[in-house]
Amino acid sequence: MKLFPIRGGIHPAYRKQATAEKAIVALLPLPARLYLPLQQHMGAAAEALVQPGDRVKKGQLLGRGVGPVSAAVHAPTSGRIAQVAELTAPHPSGLPQLTIVLEPDGQDEWAELAPPIADPFAADPKAIKERVAQAGIVGMGGATFPSSVKLDLGTRLKLEILLLNGAECEPYLTCDDRVMREHPSEVIDGARIMAHALGAPRIVIAIERNKPQALDAMRLAASAFPAIEVVDVPVQYPMGSERHLTQAITGQETPARKLTADLGVVVHNVATARAVHHAVRFGRPLLSRVVTVSGGAVKEPKNVEAPLGTPVADLIDFCGGLSETPKRLVSGGPMMGQPLPSSEVPVVKGTSGILALTTAEANERPTQPCIRCGTCVTICPCGLVPVEMAAHIRKDDLDGAAAWGVMDCVSCGSCSYICPSYIPLVHYFNYAKGRITAQDRERRKQDEVKRLAEARAARLEKQAQAKREAAARKAQAESPAP
């Protein structure tokens, strides 16, 4: 298959060898408590359906999705609800978030599950989307966008390709690699079901060339299906970015503020495909995920199939504990992952990795003045000028930064990674994007307030007018009498 080049990018030290040959192991024993935030996804938080003290079974619905973009939360094992409380979120803010605390009873007793969809390829796509929504499946590459919403794109747009993302371009992470090596037929089956739901005739599975075993396994599993093509893509960060992978495969650039679906391409992660397979074929909701536990401070790096809600500390203990205090504890990969405020926070649906990075690995140094070397401009996969954007943000000129395109930045981290002056470029952009979004929110609220105030003024005026007219009528009615 002909591939197309993508702009810029970097080749970081991949450091995948620590876990690439480690087969997926299940987390044993179960943690004493599982912490299940009601928002593990993009969109609205789920609504809790259980009370403290309730007994729940494995797979039972604990939180129901609210509104069009939301996702359900289920019990990863049987046990008792200990608490529904505001607890620290696995999020850099360290702010609390409504979380269901489940005490496992050790029985691991299943609830009654939805019946398997016997022949998903004959089933109505709607039924598959409903099942995926019921199962609480979200994008497991880290974006955590509810998958059922993304599967619905086929009703609005004509789709050509389901692009299955197995690039896994983040350093350290090998969870997708292992899933593809160990469960290729589950991934392929899930992909076929998703393609059916989307109405996409072709499936392309893109895997970076540094995963030859995964490529072999997936090619073998896909050989029976002519509609599926397994493609090896160059090792180039950020190949796994949805828009860049689409460009590499189709040669088409997704226009700004549009979706890849507008080009007829929908991208899903390989682990998501596997979760869809489980939900459709066995009625099993999303209860666990494969997490790469790695980093120089972890004694025995592993790939662990961990129940959602497992505290990070339990996961690290399972991997032999820490050999030193890490400089950074990261959820996800080191490029786009989020720093964690504590090891007490849980694994959630989007946690692809838990990295305990040493000072040497993080390689943080004091910032030096920018020497305008232009490397950030050369490598920016989005064609932006990080040096100019950061200069404007440093001077609090957010409008200037926006004019240079800061809102087009995908925060891939390439510019920060390569900067010889160690300027936290992406931090500047994250700040600017957050600030501009907050300002937009503020402006929308102000417009709404103005609208309400004007509506009220108009209503009062109308009432006054009606009163005046009534008074006038009354006066008229009374006046001829005397």
């Binding site: 803010s93 030096q368 700040y431 957050g434 503020e442 103005k450 309400l452 105030a453």
Partner: protein, 180 residues
């Protein structure tokens, strides 16, 4: 010599007549700056600035009789926009930002007197006579009019807390000492 003097004189007279005519026939009713400034203000007529309503506040701003930081519900964002429109510089780091607040009705104290409902300029309070009232926080912009009028002090102003959904990264720390 004469030609030069003459032509300059003619030019001066012509332009003067043109300007005079323009001033008379193209005059703009009212002050356009006032209208523009008013469009930047929240428009809820809450009166916290000390003026009767937003139009009066805009007039004072246009004359330079009021500071750009006059609007508490608008906060820093409105102050910045006003400063940009008026072309004045304002040091907002000194400006004590109270942060957005919304009204909250203590249900135990509310007697259902309806006064706050009548006062609210954005219809953010719902309830009926002799029944408990409640605030729709999405519509409340924290003008404090209800807070001031409530006879039983059942209304409190609560700060809008940052949540995981609204949080964003702060500006990176001042850089290394080698940088200015």
């Amino acid at each position: 010599m004469l030609l030069a003097v003459g032509s300059v004189a003619v030019m001066g007279v012509t332009l003067g007549v043109l300007l005079g005519a323009a001033a008379r026939y193209l005059a703009v009713e009212g002050n356009p700056l006032e209208a523009e400034l008013q469009s930047l203000l929240p428009g809820s007529q809450c009166g916290q600035c000390g003026f009767v309503g937003c139009a009066q506040a805009a007039a004072a701003l246009a004359k330079g009789e009021a500071p750009v930081t006059l609007c508490p519900p608008g906060g820093k964002a409105v102050a910045e926009k006003l400063a940009a429109k008026l072309g004045v510089t304002v040091d907002l780091s000194e400006h004590e930002e109270k942060g957005p607040h919304t009204a909250f009705i203590n249900e135990a104290l509310c007697i259902g007197c309806l006064r706050c409902i009548q006062e609210c300029s954005t219809d953010a309070i719902v309830g009926a006579n002799k029944q408990m009232h409640t605030v729709i926080s999405e519509a409340c912009h924290g003008c404090e009019k209800c807070f001031k009028i409530c006879p039983t002090e059942a209304i409190v102003m609560r700060p809008v807390l940052v949540s995981v959904g609204t949080w964003h990264w702060q500006k990176p720390m001042p850089e290394h000492a080698t940088q200015h």
